[in-house]
């Protein structure tokens, strides 16, 4: 296994965000974590990249326990991340942003730079534009490209489709597949479950800080519970419960809408 997380617990103050998540990512895979708001997807990624400390549990990467390694060293170990909200450096140009991606490495980056520009021709056109002035889609490309500059073994992507037009979402996902085809393992966090399941090999379904399901992605695409909760197929799943059953009344077994509501309350308090 390239990346193994073992029963990790993470707290924000007294609130438990992750209540024992275990997952594995093998070399060459695309693995996706899907789930509603507040399920713990982003926290899981942040914990893997070292931005959040663990309360308990362990993370192993390439055979080495990295649970206590500081975040900036995990980059050199081979973990690259495109963070939630993209995290583009607004005052730096596109090229400066990309070169920041290679900050931890020494030597010549022209090859990686050329590769990123080849993957994202749009970035090549805008080399000297300030990162903060680009559109959401361009910033997402920049965030992914920047993470690739460190030549990561595993690329962590946090909601790459967030806030993008459907056409751009398609484009970003096809680039993710291409990155994977060229040999980078991908761990993808998504709310857009149908897109994520279509490109991923395996998937974990997270709910309020726990893994409730893990299976090959194609199986989950056909799973009635998952369809009901995340893919908008609620009516189909309720066989014989009345053809035009009201989705809100007939609570599906996975009960995703409820958990969304609970988390919403927790965040406002």
């Amino acid at each position: 296994m390239l990346l193994e997380i073992n029963d990790i617990h993470v707290h924000y103050g007294k609130i438990a965000a992750l209540k024992g998540i275990s997952a594995e990512v093998d070399e060459g895979e695309i693995v996706t974590l899907i789930g509603a708001n507040g399920a713990g997807k982003t926290t899981t990624l942040k914990t893997i990249s070292g931005l959040r400390p663990l309360t308990s549990g362990s993370i192993r990467f390439a055979g080495q326990d990295i649970s206590k390694m500081p975040g900036h060293k995990r980059v050199l170990a081979g973990i690259g991340q495109s963070p939630e909200g993209r995290g583009v450096f607004p005052g730096m140009t596109v090229e400066e942003n990309l070169l920041m991606g290679a900050y931890a490495r020494r030597g010549d980056f022209s090859k990686e730079l050329a590769e990123v520009y080849e993957l994202f021709p749009r970035l090549a056109e805008r080399k000297s534009q300030a990162g903060g002035t680009m559109s959401g889609g361009e910033q997402q490309m920049l965030a992914i490209g920047r993470a690739l500059m460190a030549k990561p073994k595993v690329l962590l992507l946090d909601e790459p489709s967030m806030g993008l037009a459907p056409k751009l979402v398609q484009q970003i996902f096809s680039i993710i597949v291409e990155i994977n085809r060229r040999g980078t393992t991908v761990l993808l966090v998504e709310q857009n479950a149908s897109q994520a399941l279509q490109v991923a090999h395996r998937a974990y379904v997270l709910e309020t800080g726990r893994v409730v399901k893990s299976a090959p992605a194609s199986d989950l695409l056909d799973d009635p519970q998952v369809r009901a909760a995340y893919l908008g197929g609620g009516a189909e799943a309720q066989v014989g419960a009345g053809a035009s059953a009201d989705c809100l009344e007939d609570t599906p077994p996975v009960a995703a809408p409820e958990s969304v509501e609970e988390d919403g309350d927790a965040s406002s308090s």
Partner: protein, 379 residues
Amino acid sequence: MTGVASKRTRSRFSVDPVRDRWESAPPWARWVVYLLLVVGALLLPAQGIGNIMAPPESDWPTMLSDQIGIYVLLGLGLNVVVGMAGLLDLGYVAFYAVGGYTIAIFATKYHWSFWETLVLAIVTASLAGVLLGAPTLRLRGDYLAIVTLGFGEIVRVTANNLNYVNGPRGIQGIPHPPTLSEWTVPGLDVQPFKYGLLDSRPYYYLLVFFIVVAIVFVKRLERSRVGRAWASIREDEDAAELMGVPTFKFKLAAFAIGAAIGGSGGVVFAAKQTSINPGSFTFMVSALVLAGVVLGGSGNIPGVIVGAFLLAWLPERFRGLSDYRMLIFGVALVAMMIFRPEGLWPSRQRKAELAEGSGGMGSMGAEVAGPGTAAEVTE
């Protein structure tokens, strides 16, 4: 929000054309300008300039050495912390005080020479920076600001209550720096290396020397890996960590370097005044230096110099309006923040950060929890 931002950036006086010209200028042209600036700074205490710049009852060279020079030096130091690394420090006066008290103690009690105490003061001030930074730099934005504010007060209150440094009476009899040379500038009545009681100009020249050294040092840092790391921390600290920047280490370094520059300012101040007491190290000094940095254009060295100069000079120049000084001053600062929040002379990068919205001011502590941050808490 975006509407306001775009209104701000549109059709306002901009230094960009000048900057483009500067960037395309050949190196020799730049050196000529640097040289002219230094010569200009050395000629500044002249009587003719003083007649315009100083009110009749004040001595212009004394204003330059006691106020303006010190504030410019402190501004450059604080700029490392606030402008380059994006850490809001409201207790910067603490390092100035540490510098001043170091020379006061070691010169009067142990009879160290000026230059020895200078080195020692720089070391102790940067140690104080590390001491303050190590436990507090895990905090961000406003939280860091509050802790640094507290630190500034702790240093002052400690000095006020410590018998070893005579409490509120402070330490007297700090020697002037030793005279380096009796040499007189031909044609002028100035002995630039003779540090006495009557002439303030040699102290001002000493400050100019410190300022030039600080500028060269900071500028070199800015263009190095350290400078890039600071810029990334300022713009997005989490992303910086994900790029492999050891953010904590670099924030600590920013504190230490800023503190060292502030400490050197304290040494010159104490040696010029020959006595110091805790009353010189109030929160007001921190606030004024910070205002100078932000007013001038935080992160941009020429801007910071202009800002610190104005903030030290204006209140002294218009002493006639002394009762209203702070009022006028406050109104001017508020107006600045409305009409030119990036400062009088901002760096291009800083301007882009501000145009983006959250950029610069987020790290200045003005970040308000939005829907995005709330989601982050629950997930």
